[in-house]
Structure formats: structure tokens, C-alpha cells
Amino acid sequence: MGVSPKKIALDGIWNNNPIFRQVLGICSTLAVTNLVTNTLVMCIGLIYTQAMSSLTASSLRTITPYRLRIISSTLIIAAYVIVLHNVLQAYFPEISTQLGPYVGLIITNCIILGRVEAFAGNNPPIPSFLDGLASGVGYSFILLAIAVVREGLGFGTIMGYQLPFEFTHWTIMVMAPGAFFMLGIITWLCRWLDARAESAAAASKK
């Protein structure tokens, strides 16, 4: 059980990144990334849900009957998402209306159930909480990278602020296909960086 916090963080953020390694949570990657502000709120929501769900599921893991673990995980995740949804409605009504159904859809985000099942199910609460945070951050930085490019090229703005130069906006970046292209490019870029680091390490051993 001795997984070091550093390894958990590195795994979640890079080595085992939910988006470009595990290719999970693609639905929200495609849906919310055309505006940076919406993406940011979505990411914060996901990090919170993932960390809390992993923590709770892990605390209950020794008393959870094996065949009921998915049911109880879903229940836990849904409860945290409903709480988040209510808090957004009460304190950030504008953002809540803009995000519409996406917040509720965090429940069905495969990353959450995936991490709860794969990690929190057989690790103690604190490492599970860290793993949740790390996976959430790994998800977030890829999403934000995609969102910055999509909003920048599609609208000529970043978080609603006009870019300092004028150009013809790429409408395709605002629509779903733009997200597919960006996701493909980013996955390729990250894996290429990985492969390069590996071959460099192999070369230095010789």
C-alpha cells in the first residue's frame, strides 16, 4: 500500500493522465471546451467531485460488499454533484445557467467512476484523496489547453477578453469537430514528448 504521494501526483497529472493516456471523460472534453470560463468551472467541479468521491469511497471500502461497490460509488458521486449543483445555483447563478446540464453530467463522467473503482477501491483514504486531486488536475490542464486554443481561434477572445490582434475567426473551433482536432493534436503532442523523453533516457544509459 506504500504508494508515495509524489508518484500519485505524477501518475494522475502525466504518466496516467485521464485524457491522453486513459482516454476517459472525452464527452465533457468535447462539450464544454469552447469557452475558457465554462471550462474552468467544469474543471473545479470535477476536481472537487473526484477528490471527495475517492475519499468517501475509500473510507467505506472495507465495509462495502464487493458486488455493491458500483451502486454505492454512483450514489456517492451523485450526492456530491447535486450538492455542487445547488451551491452553484445559489451563489453563482449566472455560471450555473450557462453551464446548464453539464454540471449534472459530471455524475456520468467516466474518469470519476474509473478512479473510484481503480484506485479508491483498494487504497487508503488519504492517498485516494490525493489520487482524486491529481486525476482532476490532469484532466483540467488538458481541458484548459484545449479551451484556450478553441476560444482564441474561434472567438478571438480568452475568458471573454479580446485578443490584441484581429483575424478571421475559425468557426469550426467553436463547434464539436474543433474539439476533436484539438484533442487529437494534444494527445499526439503529449505522447510524442513522452516518447522523446524515453528514448533520451535509453540513450543516456548506453
Partner: protein
């Protein structure tokens, strides 16, 4: 025995998390309701072009609404009459709603005192794609509706057409690039609701208006 244990476990877990969500909802529901009402009030003020401070408190907005907006009932739906500072009618507003691209679109459409021209349009809720269909909320798009004469219908029953504006003198508006489905859906919503409104005009003129009663 094993089954009993499992049942007990799932019962307790459900009970705990249901309790958690219910209590959070209970604690926040007043605030959520107030947000919704404030939002609605702002939208009504907008559709009548009654100025208000963006950071006005919910209480002062409600007072403004009580002074400047009257309510009436038409076949079970609530309709509104806007008043100027002196209490003279500014125009009327009807709720509009219908199927958008992703979900239902709700809003208000206001008409002038003679019920012959559109004064404005606002949207209270929709689930259109952020950055595309959601741009129906933007000022430039909504401004296109202002001042359209119902007499300039594109053809009988089709009061507005949302595709491309031209100089034919008909009510043709520019659609949103990349949001054709939303534009088509909105066109249908506006035309359908206007059609049933025009058919009900005589009833509308007989409505008894009163200041809104809010708890």
C-alpha cells in the same frame, strides 16, 4: 445473512447521502428561488427597456417591478404590461417557449401599445450550445427584433424569418453563424406564439391588469 448485510449497507448509505443532499437543498432553496425571481424580474425589465442598476439588490428590483410592471391572466398564462414613470402603458409582454436545439427555450416577447409591432425579446432559460446557439442572448441578435411590424410578415402566419436579412422590407433577420438549428427552432417558437397571440387579441384587450402580488 449476506443478503441482509448487503441490504442494510445500501440502505444506510442511501439514507446518509439522501439526507446530505436534502439538507443542502433545504438550506439553499430560499436563495436559489430568490435568484430565479430576481433573474425573471431583470428579464421583464429588460424586455420593456426599463432601466435598472445591474448591481441592484433583489429587494429594490422587486419594488421597481411592483411599480412598473402589471400582471394579467390570459387563458391560464401570466402576461405583463409595462408602465413608464407616470404610470402610462409602455407596451405588453407575453411569455414564449418551445423546443430549441438541445432543450426548451423560454423567454418574453414584448409588443407596443397597439399590439402591432415587436418591442423586444429576452430569454430566461435555454440549453443552447455556449458560443453558438446561446448567442441568441446577445444584444445584437435580440435588437434585430425591435420595431418589427407584424404587418410586414414574410407570409401570412410567418411573422419573422431568421436566416439572412435583406432590403425587401419584410421581417427577415440574420441567423447566427454555426447555429442554424437554434435559429430555425427560435423562428418557429416566435411565429407560433405570435400566431396564437394574434388569434387571442380581443381577449387580450379585455384583461384586467393588476400590480403583481408576491409573497
Amino acid at each position: 445473512m449476506r443478503l441482509l448485510k448487503e441490504l442494510l449497507f445500501i440502505f444506510l448509505v442511501s439514507l446518509f447521502f439522501a439526507g446530505l443532499t436534502v439538507s443542502v437543498n433545504q438550506a439553499l432553496s430560499g436563495r436559489i428561488l430568490l435568484n430565479e425571481q430576481t433573474r425573471n424580474t431583470k428579464k421583464l425589465l429588460q424586455v420593456f427597456k426599463i432601466p435598472y442598476a445591474e448591481n441592484a439588490s433583489p429587494e429594490s428590483l422587486r419594488q421597481l417591478e411592483a411599480k412598473r410592471i402589471d400582471e394579467g391572466r390570459l387563458d391560464g398564462t401570466t402576461v405583463y404590461r409595462g408602465l413608464d414613470e407616470k404610470g402610462e402603458p409602455l407596451g405588453y409582454a407575453i411569455p414564449i417557449s418551445g423546443k430549441g436545439f438541445w432543450g426548451r427555450i423560454h423567454g418574453f416577447l414584448s409588443l407596443d401599445n397597439d399590439l402591432k409591432a415587436i418591442k423586444g425579446i429576452v430569454f430566461t432559460s435555454h440549453n443552447e450550445t455556449p458560443g453558438l446557439g446561446a448567442r441568441i442572448e446577445e444584444q445584437w441578435f435580440r435588437a434585430q427584433f425591435e420595431g418589427l411590424q407584424l404587418a410586414n410578415a414574410v407570409r401570412p402566419g410567418k411573422y419573422v424569418e431568421i436566416s439572412k436579412s435583406d432590403d425587401s422590407g419584410k421581417n427577415k433577420l440574420d441567423a447566427i453563424t454555426g447555429a442554424t438549428m437554434t435559429s430555425v427552432a427560435l423562428e418557429k417558437i416566435v411565429n407560433d406564439d405570435l400566431k396564437s397571440f394574434v388569434a387571442n387579441q380581443d381577449k387580450f384587450r379585455r384583461i384586467e391588469w393588476e400590480s403583481p402580488q408576491r409573497k
